[in-house]
Symmetry: C2
Subunit: 199 residues, 2 copies
């Protein structure tokens, strides 16, 4: 009984892992349910015992990622300042992508976005994350670590966009830089830009 349940859970995790990887590499449209089934090593109809549709599966994979981000924030020390927390979370997200994972918001195109906005669980998670990040942004502004002339929303959406920046993919493909170097450069320009800085 309990063993069967656990097997079911482990399979669901495997499905989400596969979907996350395929989602990250091929994108939602090109990721087929056959791909997922083959990657896990099960038949396609079995997928539908876990997720009632492809949309559901994608939303579940993204929701899990956000849950992991929220869990990561929990592990940061209480006394860490807001700006450092923002930097840490970005590093965490970029590291996941370097390791072949999925970007935070692959929803560049409208249909994908609409699909996600129909999923209540996903919305509740993303709103929770938004609230936390907005809090950090406001605190960091007060501490003169972020530019107060920029609206909160601009910094928020820019922050999400940095975590799924295609610059990372291009550098990995077409430059000789090591993953570590890429990570360092991206962190740096995400906050400070590319302009010359006086010493």
């Amino acid at each position: 009984m309990s063993f069967k349940k656990e097997t079911f859970q482990r399979r669901e995790t495997a499905i989400l892992d596969a979907a996350t990887y395929l989602f990250g590499s091929k994108g939602y449209d090109l990721m087929t349910m056959n791909d997922v089934a083959n990657a896990v090593g099960i038949a396609k109809p079995s997928l539908y015992k876990h997720f009632k549709s492809k949309e559901d599966l994608a939303a579940a994979a993204l929701s899990r990622l956000i849950d992991q981000a929220l869990a990561f924030l929990q592990t940061l020390p209480e006394d860490m300042d807001a700006y450092a927390k923002l930097k840490s979370l970005l590093t965490w997200g970029l590291q996941i992508r370097i390791d072949g994972g999925m970007p935070f918001l692959p929803s560049t195109n409208a249909p994908m976005r609409e699909m996600l906005m129909r999923n209540q669980y996903y919305i509740s998670r993303i709103l929770q994350l938004n609230a936390l990040i907005l809090g950090f942004i406001q605190t960091a502004k007060q501490q003169k670590m972020l530019n107060s002339e920029l609206p909160d929303e601009v910094i928020l959406f820019n922050y999400y966009a940095r975590s799924c920046d295609p610059t990372l993919d291009y550098l990995r493909l077409y430059s000789q830089l090591s993953p570590k170097e890429i990570l360092n450069h991206l962190e740096k320009i995400s906050f400070s830009g590319v302009c010359y800085v006086k010493n």
Copy 2:
């Protein structure tokens, strides 16, 4: 004779316009040849008299965009400094997207990228643009307008990524900011980041 030829050309332009718009809004995978044909008001088989495949059509639309970027650079005054040229081109690209156009490199996913890399004309155009931008970057570094500690490639790919930054879409959808304000904020953070700047 010449009239017929002109009609053909005008139709081809209309096809590229429609493809560009659909490509920008729905993305390559979800844009169907039916969509394009309906948008232009012609039958689907007629499309194939102009472009032998969907891949060809997409590559042609992107190539045209790059040609327009190259043409834009030609219009800039000779004595404009490199940094200002970089800023101008970015503004140009962002303005196109604000007007509902297509991002520069929608090729976040691997299959799309591979498709483009098989198209010789596209490659020749993008290489030409790359060379120009890299030249500007090197000059701007020498003039202490860009951070010399960053490799050229990092600045180059980051530059392309900024022109297709999803932050623009999110701000347009979920903020109250006007297009003009969005444009200004994006230009600013693209070069200078979000950090606090001393006066």
